[in-house]
């Protein structure tokens, strides 16, 4: 599996995304990490270039709904069909809403890292 991890928006909390990057790598997958403060356009562009099997967005500032709507629009606009997931400071009640917005799955903080890695490994 090739995984693209990205930090959209202005949020600089990258401990979680880097922990996940380590874990995904340890599970034998390939990880590309964009670094902080990327626009959704940049992330989708990167996905077009790298052709990952899955994209993971990490958002901890609370802007997940706004950014995920943008992600959904941009993916359609650039005609990219790669499953994408989102993780971060997401209240449990927002998870369903994020799925409706186009995220394949949403992982609130506190999710076991192994559970995320397993989910990614089993993605088709």
């Amino acid at each position: 599996m090739k995984v693209l991890l990205a930090k959209p928006g202005l949020d600089g909390h990258d401990v979680g995304v880097k922990v996940l990057a380590h874990a995904i790598k340890a599970a034998g997958h390939q990880v590309i990490y964009t670094g902080l403060r990327k626009s959704i356009e940049e992330i989708v562009q990167k996905a077009k270039e790298e052709k990952p099997d899955v994209i993971g967005l990490s958002i901890l500032s609370g802007t997940h709904q706004v950014l995920c709507e943008k992600m959904n629009d941009e993916m359609k606009k650039q005609e990219v069909e790669i499953p994408w997931i989102v993780g971060g400071n997401i209240p449990a009640e927002d998870v369903t809403e994020l799925r409706k917005t186009g995220a394949r799955e949403a992982f609130p903080t506190g999710t076991q890292i192994d559970a995320v890695v397993k989910y990614i490994g089993e993605l088709k």
């Binding site: 928006g9 202005l10 600089g12 500032s61 802007t63 209240p91 903080t109």
Partner: protein, 539 residues
């Protein structure tokens, strides 16, 4: 030792602190004094200040309570400030939203959804005038939690003070303004590492000359630890950073004693209680020695490790969030027993969101209960002389010194940050810690032991105020229309000139903010001259 034989015989497991030091089940006279025949009694208020920087500490003046606050627009934040002051808070700790922290105006497309979300939105000096309306800047000291765009926000604060008739010579307050730690954790960097450090040094130089009682930098071990560093690394990296700023400032011909006493620190509290207390006692001693022996400071205050402590977000849990109230009460105790100057606690709901008025009040009361009911202010350094704490203090001092040497051997902290080596180390440790937590090797109540199934969330969220964000954008547009734009243009050109000439940037930025140039406009000019940071990707 007898205890060692006991441990073997009984099969008791060994205990190691997060910093790697082994802990014995019993400490005796031998541990503290036996190994140290040249032992001399240490006293608070005397070099090397292990027991505290003042002789009477809290008996004379209790720690300042300075909760982190700020959200939505300056209007809402002003209300919260007044609420906190009315309830007995003695200092302010200002939170800015991410657009302000990253140097973007509220109407910048990149700021969408962020305006006023995690702190207050500031675009022009008008916003500061509103936020601090009715607050006496002589009585309430203000701490600005701002880094990448700190020079602009500090300029605004100085401009505000001048406009309101305060003498800058007597103005007190603090800016976080520690950009090197932003590259390690927190991430609100803007410019390349060298230019970023230059701007920090500009503020130190300016304050030394014009605002001598202001603390221009609060060096943050805190965020480095939150990013994965252990307590020894937290102190070591912070000291290396403080030394780097000092070295760069001295290169401009400024004497160490002109600014060293205005450097302060911000540290993390979570983890083993005794390890943290020893960390601070050792830190105070080591910093004093560094300042006196390496930097040959003459003024006593130049040797003081002054600090804010009490927070420890990484120690809190989303599970059973009310438990965080208990955790933060212990954190308050740890920081008081460690001799902190200023205390700020995380609120119990901070794992979810920014604090509600209720949770902010609980945190405030937690500190007040300790301060007023527990006798915590009566005696200086009450753990001084404890065999365990003193012995651990000695071991921590040595460990911090060794860690600092490691950084130096690898080319210094600025280089370590620029190449991403430091980031790589702490992020790997964060991963190892997370793994240990998931495997139950590190216990966390409610998370990996004593769990409750199917919890219903009991935390009430602080709602995001969309209307305040809209109002903020409208206010900015109005200000841009009504200010003297010709003058603003000239002043921004002045900022560009000074940047090109490599001058101290504060003078021209203060002039620009006084005419209501925006945060984004000034930062954009600096970006044109300095360029932007390209993050090395390490994990």
């Amino acid at each position: 030792m007898e205890t060692k034989t006991e441990i073997k015989k009984e099969g008791i497991k060994k205990v190691f602190l997060e910093s790697g030091l082994e802990v014995k089940p019993l400490y005796t006279y031998e541990d503290e004094y036996g190994k140290n025949p040249g032992f001399q009694e240490e006293l608070p208020g005397q070099f090397p200040f292990t027991r505290g920087i003042h002789p009477l500490m809290y008996r004379k003046r209790p720690f300042t309570i300075r909760q982190y606050a700020g959200f939505a627009s300056p209007e809402e934040t002003n209300e919260r400030f007044n609420f906190l002051i009315k309830n007995g808070q003695t200092g302010l700790n200002v939170a800015f939203d991410l657009s302000t922290q990253c140097g973007l105006d509220s109407d910048d497309p990149r700021a969408l959804g962020e305006v006023g979300r995690v702190g207050m939105a500031i675009d022009t000096l008008e916003d500061f005038e509103i936020a601090f309306n009715g607050i006496d800047l002589d009585k309430i000291t203000v701490s600005l939690t701002i880094n990448g765009s700190a020079i602009v926000l500090m300029a605004m604060y100085f401009a505000l003070a001048e406009k309101r008739g305060y003498d800058l010579k007597n103005l007190r307050g603090t800016a976080q303004n520690d950009i090197l730690k932003e590259f390690i954790g927190r991430g609100t960097w803007i410019f390349p590492v060298d230019k970023s450090v230059k701007l920090v040094v500009d503020t130190i130089e300016y304050c030394a000359k014009h605002v001598p009682k202001y603390s221009p930098v609060s060096v943050c071990g805190y965020h480095i630890r939150e990013s994965g560093a252990n307590p020894v690394q937290e102190m070591a990296y912070a000291f290396c950073i403080a030394k780097a700023y000092s070295d760069e400032t001295m290169k401009r011909g400024i004497d160490i004693d002109e600014f060293a006493s205005r450097l302060s620190f911000n540290f993390d509290i979570y983890g083993n209680l005794f390890e943290q207390i020893a960390k601070f006692r050792a830190g105070r001693r080591l910093w004093a020695k560094i300042m006196r022996e390496e930097y040959q400071t003459k003024k006593e205050e130049s040797c003081w490790m002054r600090m804010i402590a009490g927070g420890g977000g990484a120690g809190l849990t989303k599970e059973q969030p009310e438990n965080n109230i208990v955790r933060t009460a212990y954190y308050a105790l740890i920081s008081a027993l460690s001799g902190t100057q200023t205390m700020a606690l995380c609120t119990y709901d901070e794992a979810f969101t920014i604090p509600t008025e209720k949770s902010a009040e609980i945190a405030l009361r937690t500190m007040q209960i300790m301060m007023n009911e527990m006798g915590i202010c009566d005696t200086v350094d009450p753990l001084g002389g404890s065999y365990y704490v003193e012995s651990l203090t000695n071991e921590m001092e040595l460990a911090i010194r060794n860690e600092m040497m490691k950084v130096d051997e690898q080319g210094g902290i600025i280089n370590g940050v620029a190449t991403g080596k430091v980031q790589e180390t702490v992020s790997r440790q964060a991963y190892e810690r997370e793994k240990a937590m998931q495997d139950g090797k590190i216990l966390k109540v409610g998370l990996n032991c004593f769990k409750k199934e199917e919890e219903k969330r009991s935390v009430e969220f602080h709602p995001y105020n969309v209307d305040a964000a809209t109002r903020q954008v409208e206010k900015l547009k109005k200000k841009r229309a009504e200010r003297n734009n010709e003058k603003v243009k000239q002043l921004l050109a002045g900022v560009r000139d000074d940047a090109n000439k490599n001058l101290n940037m504060l003078t021209s930025i203060i002039a620009a903010v006084k005419e209501y140039a925006t945060v984004g406009e000034i930062i954009d000019v600096l970006k044109e001259v300095y360029g932007e940071y390209q993050e090395p990707i390490f994990f």
